[in-house]
């Protein structure tokens, strides 16, 4: 998956959990909990959506790795690549 596709996939999953988030004004450094106001249930639902859509299982210890768009895209790309490899 290219960086653009992964960015798209992450934003889709995020908006699925929090439909009021405007993808256009989402900043790369916006923290999903501190800035976007997701609670622990939302984060779990985001992780579950990424698991369903991308087949990538993010363990709890790695949740900080998807805390912003800037962190999540390379993390998910690496996780997706290792899964295929």
């Amino acid at each position: 998956m290219t960086e653009t596709e992964m960015r798209r996939a992450f934003i889709d999953a995020l908006v699925g959990v929090a439909p009021d988030i405007d993808p256009g004004s989402l900043g790369a450094e916006d923290h999903i909990q501190r800035d976007l106001g997701l609670d622990s249930m939302d984060v779990l639902n985001l992780v579950a959506a990424l698991h369903d859509q991308l087949g990538i299982d993010i363990p709890e210890a790695d949740y900080p790795q998807i805390a912003t768009l800037a962190l999540a895209v390379p993390y998910l790309q690496a996780a997706g690549a290792s899964r295929q490899g």
Binding site: S40, M41, D57
Partner: protein, 382 residues
């Protein structure tokens, strides 16, 4: 048989707007079936019927604002005839108007066009339909057009946005709670490291859909503590406490964009930990989507309000009437803690129970907190 009436979906709800009928005359319904959607200050709520039967007649129209307790539909038990009140009724006193009100049934209406519900209310109020102005199609008189003779039409209030409505609903319920309920508060700070460690180990080899949150352990511990101390679980009505046979634990859900709702997990005492977690996920999802059920809004017996994973360490909350207790759980804090004589870093939470002094006293609230702490210290038993 029964007149199916607008339920109270919150302690200060006065009316709801019928948004959608999910049944029609002739449909067979069972207790618990969702039959209609009602728009309230707290969003759209699915309302259920409370008995088995067949829908005989819908008495409210979509779009009508229906007061709590006013009829929505007539549901007849299997094999039951329409009640006698539906026929001619010479035994009833005449309405105090010179003009006779159009007789039922409405299939052959006399006089002005009017909805069945409007006719019904006009008859109940003794109002002459001919003297009313209809706002429905072709000038038909709708339920909302029928007002008691002496009642002055209130000035139309500008329709506030949903946010403002929600704020008003919360204001009304919380003001009533603080006015009527003599709250008292007990707090205890407790070590949740065993619960966190147990949770991490349990979640490690499970896919996201099977993972648990600390919040589910808290809700489960509240349910078990409520079973152990029944005086914290139930309703205060008609100047008396009515303990609840089961535990319908309310879960306060903050809504994105502001406001909150506290729908109940019905029959939570029968749910194990994974089922409690699944029930909470479902409630949160439907709360956000505006698809909660009437029973979930009105049948809670105790409520949990949790501040989440980070943030403030304690909260003394306001009880949702007619409930008699609310459990406020602060965010876990890393603190120096004494464990077996040594000072060690531990994650602790401060649990505050708000209780109704008409029903319980400090000793019982302390027993509740002790029961909660015992449960959360042994998460494998939850």
């Amino acid at each position: 048989m029964g007149l199916f009436t607008m339920p109270s979906l919150g302690s200060d709800m006065e009316a709801g707007t019928l948004a959608e009928w999910l049944v029609k005359p002739g449909d067979r319904v069972s207790r618990g079936d969702v039959v209609a959607v009602v728009e309230t200050q707290k969003g759209a709520i699915e309302i259920e019927c409370f008995e088995d039967g067949v829908v005989d007649e819908l008495r409210a129209e979509v779009g009508a604002e229906v007061p709590v307790g006013a009829p929505l539909a007539l549901i007849l038990a299997p094999g039951e005839d329409r009640p006698a009140e539906r026929g001619p009724e010479p035994q009833h006193p005449k309405p105090p108007t010179a003009q006779p009100v159009s007789p039922l049934p409405p299939e052959t209406p006399h006089g002005p066009a009017a909805s069945p519900a409007a006719r019904m209310r006009a008859r109940d109020l003794g109002v002459d339909l001919a003297g009313l102005t209809g706002s429905g199609p072709g000038g038909a008189i709708l339920l909302a057009d029928v007002v008691p003779p002496a009642e002055v039409m209130p000035q139309p209030v500008p329709r506030a946005d949903a946010q403002t409505e929600m704020r008003r609903a919360i204001a009304a319920a919380m003001t009533r709670a603080k006015r009527e309920i003599p709250h008292f508060y007990l707090s205890a700070t407790m070590d949740v490291q065993p619960a966190r460690d147990w949770l991490s180990a349990r979640n490690a080899d499970r896919p996201p859909d099977e993972r648990l949150l600390l919040g589910a352990l808290f809700v489960r511990a509240v349910v078990l503590a409520a079973r152990a101390v029944p005086v914290m679980n139930g309703h205060y009505r008609d100047e008396a406490f009515h303990p609840a046979p089961g535990v319908n634990v309310g879960v306060a859900v903050a809504l994105r964009g502001g406001g909150l709702v506290a729908p109940a997990l019905i029959g939570a005492e029968r749910l194990d930990l994974p089922a409690t977690m699944a029930g909470m996920r479902d409630l949160v999802m439907r709360a956000r989507a505006g698809r909660l059920r009437g029973s979930e809004m009105s049948e809670g017996t105790i409520t949990v309000s949790s501040l989440g994973e980070t943030g403030a360490e304690a909260m003394a909350g306001v009880i949702f009437p007619p409930q008699v207790a609310l459990v406020g759980i602060g965010a876990p804090q890393l603190r120096p803690w004494v464990v077996a004589g040594a000072i060690v870093p531990r994650h602790v939470v401060t649990v505050t129970v708000s209780a109704d002094h008409r029903v319980s006293d400090g000793r019982q609230a302390a027993r509740f907190l002790a029961a909660f702490e015992k449960q959360i210290a042994t998460p494998e038993g939850l």
